[in-house]
């Protein structure tokens, strides 16, 4: 009887809820759609401001211009290199650090020392200038290592990983130990294969982090040719540093609207993430939950 009554009553709350959530979701999509539409419009259409959510006077001129710029490809190459190298190093170190830290104090007596050693880095930092000076001292400026090594141990991901390792039943490791397996073997043969979901999560965080990083490239690379893509976009789009362009390029720029060109580069900078993240969503959802609130 009760259920019937509820069906007849029009569910106002539900309608309002759908409207609110749809508006919120649209607010997240509109900026990206707008920028994509701008980048695919003709320069006159973009300059006169008639473009909203669909390309007006469709044109690929801006993309044509971007892909002919050698600077764009050089930056892309740096980004790819940093993602592969940085992601790999991150993953390896996360696993190697998380395994000993996941042990009980009885199994690994130095555990609390190391835990504090890692924890303190989350509490205190020397700040930007000493950090920069140290990297300079190591002679890493202008090399790929400056983009990869300073963040080589993402402590948050280590925590996430070690929490995952702790969930793995101890009996597995003990049985392997009796069979004569050492710690290395236990890690690679038992822990790593059972933790693929967590590994995917931390790897995803690393890859996205490396792709999105721009500030380190900006200050640690003296030569703009060594900028990763996001740093390059930052100088072109946000700082509008035209001094980086040659005279021919500036002349060519006059024929393409600055606005479509900027839009095209912004869109290209976000494209890999837009393409990839919906498929990896379940991993990071799992990861964030595991990492931030547990037990």
């Amino acid at each position: 009887m009760l259920a019937r009554l509820r069906v007849k009553q029009f569910d106002w709350f539900n309608l309002i809820n759908i409207i609110i959530l749809s508006l919120a979701a649209l607010s997240c999509l509109i900026p990206v759609i707008h920028i994509a539409a701008l980048s695919l419009s003709s320069s006159t259409a973009a300059a006169t401001g008639v473009v909203t959510f669909w390309p007006v006077d469709f044109s690929l001129n801006s993309y044509d211009y971007v892909i002919k710029r050698s600077q764009f490809w050089m930056s892309m190459l740096v980004s790819v290199e940093r993602i592969l190298l940085g992601g790999g190093i991150n993953l390896l170190l996360i696993i190697l650090c998380a395994f000993p830290l996941s042990k009980e104090r009885t199994e690994f007596r130095a555990r609390s020392f190391y835990a504090w050693f890692f924890f303190i880095t989350m509490l205190f930092s020397g700040g930007l200038i000493p950090w920069y000076m140290a990297i300079r001292q190591y002679k890493m400026l202008d090399t790929i290592w400056a983009l990869v090594l300073p963040g080589a141990v993402p402590v948050f991901s280590v925590i996430l990983m070690l929490n995952f390792f702790r969930e793995i039943p101890k009996e597995l490791a003990e049985a392997a130990c009796i069979d004569g397996a050492g710690q290395w073997r236990i890690l690679w043969v038992i822990y790593v294969p059972t933790s693929m979901a967590a590994i995917a999560t931390v790897l995803l965080f690393s890859l996205v982090g490396h792709w999105n990083s721009w500030f380190d490239g900006l200050i640690l690379m003296n030569n703009p040719e060594h900028y990763p893509l996001q740093s390059y976009i930052q100088t072109i789009v946000v700082q509008r540093a035209y001094s980086m362009l040659s005279r021919e390029e500036i002349q060519q720029l006059a024929t393409i609207s600055d606005r479509t060109l900027r839009s095209a580069q912004i869109f290209l900078g976000s494209l890999p993430i837009i393409l990839v993240y919906p498929f990896l969503q379940r991993y990071f959802v799992k990861g964030i939950v595991l990492g931030s609130v547990k037990g």
Binding site: F108, F124, S125, A134
Partner: protein
């Protein structure tokens, strides 16, 4: 002895990570000595620099804009912290009330998107969309009969723009944790509430929110550590000299003094000032979370 032998591989595993943390966290921590030196970069970190005591701090504290920078940082960060807590809670509840699974996951996927875009990309997009002459937002404002607003160039609007856009970027991602907490609530509680005649609103108030209480308190306490983090990436990509008055924060200030003006000692002093205060806040936050929510990070 046998035990020690078994522990050797564990030490070896953690060694590379420890070395890298030493190089890129602990050495820079020791590098705060720059704050007490008349630092000449050519002589190198820990080189033979001239010690000048607290002169750098004295200089900074007497700069006319220093107080306004601190004020901007705390105000912007506080608003971001408060909204960053409330808005995701509201949306987590709204999403949870959505019974259509397809629609629900579509909404979720969409609202996570801005979190994954860098502030370079979003900065570029916002600069375009908020432009007073041909930006999409101002076109809309003009269409509804309002006067165009220079969101990024007007000191009355700049902070609002920062706070609003940050909240917008992170609200979707913020719902994840709360949604997980809601999933953990015993469904019997809802049934019991229904039998007692509680409507949806009452159920939210008396079942859902109390069920999220632990997580809310925990995130509230932990967010305390961000009181001086007003969001360097965002401000750096959106600000300009006209809005320094309302939007210049400690981190951007340090960057300009240190990297652009090359006053390394002074910049390190400001950075150290921030690090020390942040250290207190973060430590207190973790301690409270540990005491009251039994939160253990390692």
């Amino acid at each position: 002895m046998l035990k020690f032998k078994r522990e050797i591989p564990l030490h070896l595993m953690i060694l590379p990570g420890v070395i890298l943390l030493l190089m890129f966290h602990y050495i820079p921590m020791a590098g705060i000595v720059i704050a007490f030196q008349k630092f000449i970069p050519a002589k190198g970190l820990f080189g033979n620099q001239k010690w000048i005591g607290l002169d750098n701090f004295d200089y900074v504290f007497h700069l006319p804009n220093f107080l306004s920078v601190i004020n901007n940082t705390v105000v912007i960060a506080s608003y971001k912290i408060v909204l960053g807590l409330i808005v995701p809670i509201v949306f987590a509840i709204l999403i949870n009330e959505m019974k259509n699974k397809r629609f629900k996951s579509l909404i979720q996927t969409t609202i996570y998107l801005p979190h994954f875009l860098s502030w370079v990309v979003l900065g570029g997009i916002l600069i375009d969309m908020l432009s007073p002459s041909d930006g999409l937002v101002n076109k809309f404002i003009k269409l509804t009969g309002g006067d165009p607003v220079f969101f990024l160039g007007d000191n009355h609007w700049f902070r609002f723009t920062l706070i609003f856009s940050e909240t917008w970027k992170e609200f979707g991602y913020g719902t994840i944790v709360y949604l997980a907490a809601i999933t953990g609530i015993d469904p019997n509680l809802y049934e019991a509430a229904q039998i007692d005649g509680a409507n949806r609103w009452k159920q939210t108030l008396h079942v859902t929110l109390p069920g999220m209480r632990m997580v809310i308190v925990l995130l509230m306490v932990l967010s305390l550590g961000n009181l001086l983090n007003a969001g360097f990436d965002q401000v750096f990509n959106l600000y300009s000299p006209t809005v320094y008055e309302s939007g210049d924060i400690i981190d951007t200030f340090v960057y300009r003094i240190g990297m652009l003006d090359a006053q390394f000692g002074v910049a390190t002093a400001v950075g150290l000032f921030k690090s020390v205060i942040s250290f207190v806040f973060v430590s207190v936050a973790y301690f409270c979370a540990y005491r009251f929510a039994d939160y253990r990070i390692f």
